[in-house]
């Protein structure tokens, strides 16, 4: 059995191994090492939550602290990657996309197409998502659908330490721009992770469990809530398949369609919103492509269409959870 490590350590290990394997891999971001320009030792933080801790001492030239200047350093990560490097840009919170988004959606994502297939921009943007810490409206969002909406960027959303390591390695090695979303509530989740280098293909869903009655599609932290709900439903004889797409661009449509063809019922769980989001998109694609297999209306379990609230009771009410998933599954069984 492989050793168990935390999600954030799996991410750290993926970066370390990629930097060992390829000297073109660099990491840029605010406090990715820390203490720059002070009299104190560097690597003071190793990222705001310590995810890149320990990398600076190993790769002092390639772990680069930047000013709080997202347009400049995310853009520089893109530019360096278009010039032969393989940059990882850490956009601390995905909520901060607004201060640098042009460099991703108008630049990195479009170079290859606009330039007639000649550009290669292997940049990876690592960024945090997720509510649950009373971090309120500007530090809790999961805005990956805004990234996934743009052709040219891949969107990766791991739900456990094993996937985090393999998907991040695949993202860094991938020749397209990748945005890697890390749910901050998962950072301390422990799981079995091999010590050696490995990759998980981008665009291949993980079938977390199989059951004949209902297909639950869930992302990131929602996967464990779906598992909890499924366990409870199993006691009543309702058997759930849980699909973790792991990447929403590319999306593994075949995995979802073939499961719905077996179960005839679909529940999509997303911590983000229903409007123009992953949940509505999955329901729409399923309705268009495997409508004949449906035995009940697909259900969406998402956050309500409001900014993330601060007060803990409101935030708890805002988040999808196992009870809400269970209720949605039961509704498809009525």
């Amino acid at each position: 059995m492989a050793r168990k490590i935390m999600f954030k350590d799996a991410i750290n290990e993926a970066m370390r191994l990629e930097m060992e394997r390829d000297e073109k891999v660099i990491l840029l971001g605010l406090d990715v090492a820390g203490a720059a320009g002070t009299d104190q030792p560097r690597d003071a933080w190793g990222g705001v939550l310590g995810v890149s801790k320990g990398l600076y001492p190993l790769f002092p030239d390639r772990v680069i602290d930047t000013p709080i200047s997202e347009s400049a350093y995310i853009g520089a990560a893109v530019g360096a990657s278009a010039c032969g490097m393989r940059a990882i840009g850490e956009l601390m919170f995905s909520d901060f996309m607004g201060v640098c988004f042009d460099q991703l959606y108008n630049q990195a994502a479009k170079f290859r197409y606009m330039f007639g297939g000649k550009a290669v921009t292997p940049v990876t943007i690592r960024t945090m998502i997720g509510a649950g810490f009373s971090a309120a409206a500007q530090h809790s969002q999961s805005p990956y659908s805004m990234f996934a909406h743009v052709p040219g960027m891949k969107c990766i959303i791991p739900s456990n330490p094993y996937d985090a390591k393999g998907l991040l390695a695949a993202s860094i090695e991938d020749d397209d721009p990748c945005v890697f979303f890390e749910h901050k509530a998962l950072y301390t989740m422990k799981g079995e992770v091999p010590e050696e280098h490995y990759t998980i293909p981008l665009g291949k869903a993980n079938i977390v469990q199989e059951g004949k009655d209902v297909t639950i599609v869930a992302l990131a932290r929602m996967v464990q809530f779906a598992e909890k709900a499924a366990k409870k439903l199993a006691k009543d004889g309702i058997e759930c398949t849980i699909i973790d797409p792991r990447t929403i661009s590319p999306m593994d449509w075949n995995a979802i369609y073939s499961s719905v063809e077996k179960t005839g019922r679909l529940v999509v769980v997303d911590e983000s919103y229903d409007l123009c989001g992953v949940a509505s998109d999955v329901c729409g694609h399923v309705a268009q492509n495997v409508f004949g297999a449906l035995k009940a209306a697909p259900q969406m379990v998402t956050a309500p269409f409001v900014p993330t609230p601060f007060a803990s009771n409101l935030e708890a009410a805002y988040l999808p959870d196992a009870n809400k998933i269970e209720a949605a599954v039961r509704k498809t069984m009525e």
Partner: protein, 326 residues
């Protein structure tokens, strides 16, 4: 400075400037006929800036350009025929007809693209310069941008970033006096006279030069690029120049004084000034320049004819090249 340039260099620089002028003037004519698709922004009048800088660069050096990008492309060595075909939206274009005037790029030539977003270039070239620094190959990154883009946060952020990381990067501001139709006198308190004053505040050398004087640009760029290659960090060069056409083709230009362009074409044209300087110094014969003029006219004519005759992209191209793999 003139003396440092061989006759061959002088003729090459003149040819590049002439290529830009004739290319742009011809696009102006063709666009007026209504045969060209999309938006076109022309570089005529600013030739000495692109060529004065790019004469110092090789294919390893990266530049980023603007919506007014044809001049930078030509100066950096992108082929005219491919460019013209791209502007026509043809299969044979530099980008297969999928980029158009605002997105011509040739990465093999170190040309990272014209850009439809004002102020998008500085962060990208900061990254190119970071790559140069890490590779220690002596290459540099040069970003061209206008007086309008000088007010973008991306530019301020990139100046600070380049100084912080001591990057081999050159900021080349083409101050043509109009951000679309707005003057720097309106959009800047610090920098209304010389926008370079702002750059000095970030702690980098900054100069303002006559952007219609090839030799002034060449000298300032040479110094900045040499410093950057040797690890001396970024430099800001403001080039005062003038565009001879509107912001875009079709712009009625009511914001400009009457005869402003006519006067500039007569008295401050970078090509005329270059020709006068090199012939009066006895470095080049007038006939040699005239031979270039004729050759470039033929070259542009050939490019237009080839572009007109070329096919549009195959429909398969619609779905191709969004990703390397997907």
């Amino acid at each position: 400075m003139k003396a440092q340039l061989s006759k061959e260099d002088l003729l090459k620089a003149y040819r590049k400037m002439r290529e830009i002028r004739e290319f742009e003037d011809r696009v102006h004519v063709e666009f007026a006929k209504g045969t060209l698709p999309g938006f076109v922004h022309l570089y005529s009048g600013e030739e000495a800036v692109a060529v004065g800088v790019c004469e110092h660069l090789n294919d390893l050096d990266r530049i980023a350009s603007t919506h007014r990008g044809h001049g930078h492309c030509i100066a950096k060595g992108v082929e005219l025929e491919g460019m013209m075909a791209e502007i026509y939206g043809k299969k044979t274009g530099t980008c297969g007809g999928k980029g158009g005037s605002m997105h011509i790029a040739d990465l093999d030539k170190g040309m990272m693209g014209a850009n439809g977003i004002v102020g998008a270039g500085p962060p990208l070239i900061a990254g190119a310069a970071l790559a140069s620094k890490l590779r220690k190959d002596g290459s540099v990154g040069v970003v061209f941008f206008g007086d309008g883009a000088s007010n973008q946060g991306t530019n301020f952020e990139s100046m600070n970033f380049a100084v912080t990381l001591d990057l081999p990067m050159i900021f080349v501001l083409e101050n043509n006096g109009y951000a679309e139709s707005t003057s720097p006198k309106y959009s800047a308190k610090v920098g209304s006279d010389n926008i370079a004053d702002r750059a000095r505040g970030f702690g980098m050398p900054a100069v303002t030069v006559d952007g219609n004087d090839f030799f002034a640009v060449y000298e300032a760029a040479g110094e900045a690029i040499e410093r950057a290659r040797k690890g001396g960090g970024p430099t800001f060069i403001e080039c005062k120049t003038m565009r001879y056409f509107g912001h875009f083709e079709g712009d009625a230009q009511t914001y400009r004084p009457k005869d402003e362009v006519k006067g500039a074409r007569a008295n401050d044209c970078p090509l005329k000034r270059f020709a006068a300087a090199v012939t009066s110094a006895g470095l080049v014969e007038a006939a040699e320049l005239e031979a270039i003029d004729k050759s470039v006219l033929d070259q542009v004519e050939k490019a237009v004819k080839a572009a007109e005759a070329a096919p549009q992209p195959d429909l398969d191209a619609l779905m191709a090249d969004v990703y390397v793999s997907y």
